[in-house]
Assembly symmetry: C2
Homo-oligomer: 455 residues x 2
């Protein structure tokens, strides 16, 4: 075995591992940082759906650049860590024996498929959506020569892929077992807008039904259809299981690192495990929700990046006070040409968690006056504490600016800003870029929430 | 004289007056609210530059809707208030004698022209940019039949008009007496980017020079040229004076209301004068800067709207704690197809005000990966306190999302968020909508500012 020594060993080269590495090198320039990752080529995970439509068209256009890490003097090794001796601080990776001082698990997540359907993954034509170029290319080649696609699941990956594929001429059916689509981030009124757009794009939609069997009619190991709980069958040349992801913690478990919620690695706010030489960041870490404090299945590259910044700076001392007390589950998606964004809790989640809330909604335009070319409708909903008025959730649908507006609401949630403060916040408005100053929708939604508190 | 009685009298129907009226009616539904305004038709002020180019093309497309006020039961009178008896609480407007309980000055601002050039305003072809449809239509008709235009002033109104006019085929020269264009909101490196775009659009630019004379060569009361301090003359069929605005406080002064900085009406954080039955909002009020606490000439519809929300809710009691301790001067402008946004202090203003600062800048892309169609360069600069790291200013140039990104920075400034908090803030990212999670430019600029503090 070849012996290698480093100060900081990071297992995984996705957004979490990458940001941890860069942040560690920035904060501790004299430390040797080594990143081990399994894939030679790293995809940008959130753009994977666009590989399948005309937006990107191929996975070669979805490659993450690792140039910065190399420029900074961060070492990279392509390989798989098979074992770790925690006591001796040695990791075993293929032919290498790597001594380290600090180790960071950034092993990400793998597609989750319900137990009852897992055996069908071996059928030709049945796929998941892994963050792996080779496997994505396989799926892409298959799609190129087939037409009838069933997508199981109605989270944002499923919906983004459905619309991309339908717009590129495929026959697509989405099967959703949920009360409504995009359930983890949006309330029904927003989901209904998304369904309308999806249907207009030609996607067929079966709601509140569940795939109970993936059918290989001819016994030739090729999928032909899916059977639903309702009894209905839907023909399928391809079945894409977009039913979520699970923390990839096989190695952590093997070497005795404690796991928390949903099998993620337990960490504190500085992303440290109980052993302060062992960290975990990204999808493989156990997350809680910022508002409800319940365990959270949220897996977002932006959350991972923020965790990486915290871990990378806290390796040898707590340099910056903070660290999260949970994820605010902030994210955006596109359904066709319309942006949907969400942060914090939805109204439905607040009800489930038993939070006393009010809501305030406002519909306006994203330009002013209305005659500005390209002005689009913009709907903002705020969820606020009935007592105190702190903003704890928000949803937006509208034009492309939605993607940054949700970051205003996200900051409000993180900072505990109340609707009373939001009501008179100072904002920039410009005819070609934003809503009118007199009707800026986040402010107006705050005004509506105050009304709801007063009533 | 016809006698009229109301509870709340608002003089002025621009963004400040309009928002005050709507907020007052929302908070005090039983009060009679009367708005008096001089213009039958109210323009959307920030979109006036677009009347002159192809974006809107005429002022009829730039009309503010007053439907909401009428629907809510707010009364409107078109007329001019000539006098007020403060002791008796009676206002005199043309043929009306109006009794009121609370009065709000929302009389706005009028174009400012340096004393030495004011007499030339009577020449045919010399214009200002007032917020008045009749006068804007006059300017527009004149422009339609002329070609050579000189714009005096390099604030955002001047620059937006210059690019619109050049793009619609006119010969346009901008004369700027400032150190660089857009000086009140941007540092030089941003201004240089704006100049490049302006020059590419065909605008001619004369910097660091001043118009000392507006020339009527033939003595026929028509402008022909301007003469500059340097001696140079520039031919002009039209001269547009875009040299700022001043508070319209003639009436307030006449009736003995105290004036503050730059002739604006002195008000406290709740927009009250020393007499708590008299309020002032919008451009006619005296403003201070949130950071420097110096008097501020900032005049923005969004600031006015925020003030209107504070005044309207505080008429009969302080319902909501807060009120501004000054303007953060947050705004956006478009130079051609590129958005420029600013909030708080610039680096140059911080130097003038004697603030110990660091800066952090980051250039990235507004989409991820870089292969996403339409990805545009995005430059973010943060200005932060050297001690403590609080963010006190920010500038952005990039795609249309810039208009909402600056509102994130604005909220950071208002809430006293430090670069240490910003470094690990949770943000939403999406390939088609934002920068990459690993390189989100506001976060990266915060990281750079921290580096600057550490050095």
């Amino acid at each position: 075995m070849q012996k290698v020594t480093c100060d900081v060993l990071i297992i995984g080269g996705g957004p979490a591992g990458g940001v941890t590495a860069v942040t560690a090198k920035t904060n501790y320039p004299n430390k040797d940082i080594l990143v081990i990752r399994e894939n030679e080529i790293q995809l940008v995970p959130c753009a994977i759906p666009y590989v399948f439509g005309e937006t990107l068209g191929c996975s070669d256009k979805d490659v993450a650049s690792c140039a910065m890490a190399a420029d900074m003097g961060i070492s990279t090794l392509i390989g798989k860590v098979n074992d770790i001796n925690i006591a001796k601080k040695i990791a075993y990776c293929d032919a290498y024996e790597i001594s380290f001082d600090k180790i960071i698990f950034a092993t990400g997540s793998t597609p989750f498929v319900h137990e009852s359907l897992r055996h069908s993954l071996s059928l030709k034509g049945v796929f998941t959506v892994p963050k792996n170029k080779v496997l994505i290319d396989e799926l892409k080649s298959y799609i190129d020569v087939k037409n009838e696609i069933v997508i199981v699941g109605s989270g944002f990956i499923g919906i983004e892929m459905a619309v991309e594929l339908a717009e590129s001429g495929k026959s697509v059916t989405v099967i959703s077992a949920s009360k409504h689509i995009l359930k983890n981030a949006f309330d029904r009124e927003f989901a209904n807008l998304a369904i309308d757009i999806m249907l207009k794009a030609g996607v067929k939609y079966v709601g509140k039904d569940r795939v109970v069997e993936i059918i290989d009619k001819n016994g030739d190991n090729h999928v032909n259809a899916v059977r639903l709980l309702s009894g209905q069958t839907v023909d399928a040349e391809i079945v894409i299981m977009a039913t979520g992801y699970q923390p990839n913690t096989e190695l952590a478990k093997k070497v005795g690192v404690s796991l928390g919620h949903y099998g993620g690695i337990w960490v504190d706010e500085y992303m440290r495990t109980a052993n302060h030489d062992i960290f975990a960041v990204g999808d493989c870490s156990a997350r809680r929700h910022f508002i409800t404090k319940d365990s959270s299945k949220v897996m977002l590259a932006s959350t991972s990046a923020a965790e990486g910044r915290m871990a990378g700076s806290s390796l040898y001392s707590i340099k910056y006070l903070k660290g999260f007390s949970g994820t605010i589950a902030i994210f955006s998606t596109m359904v066709g040409k319309t942006a949907f964004s969400s942060a914090g809790v939805t109204e439905e989640q607040a009800a489930t968690a038993g939070i006393d809330i009010v809501t305030g909604s406002f519909t306006g335009l994203n330009r002013h006056p209305a005659s500005i070319p390209g002005a689009q409708k913009q709907l903002v909903k705020l969820i606020a504490m009935k007592n105190g008025g702190q903003i704890i959730g928000g949803q937006i649908v509208g034009g492309n600016e939605t993607g940054e507006m949700i970051n205003i609401i996200g900051l409000m949630i993180e900072m505990g800003v109340s609707v009373y403060t939001a009501m008179s916040m100072q904002i920039a408005t410009q005819p070609m870029l934003t809503a009118a100053p007199t009707n800026y929708p986040i402010v107006m939604a705050a005004v509506m929430a105050i009304k709801a508190i007063d009533n």
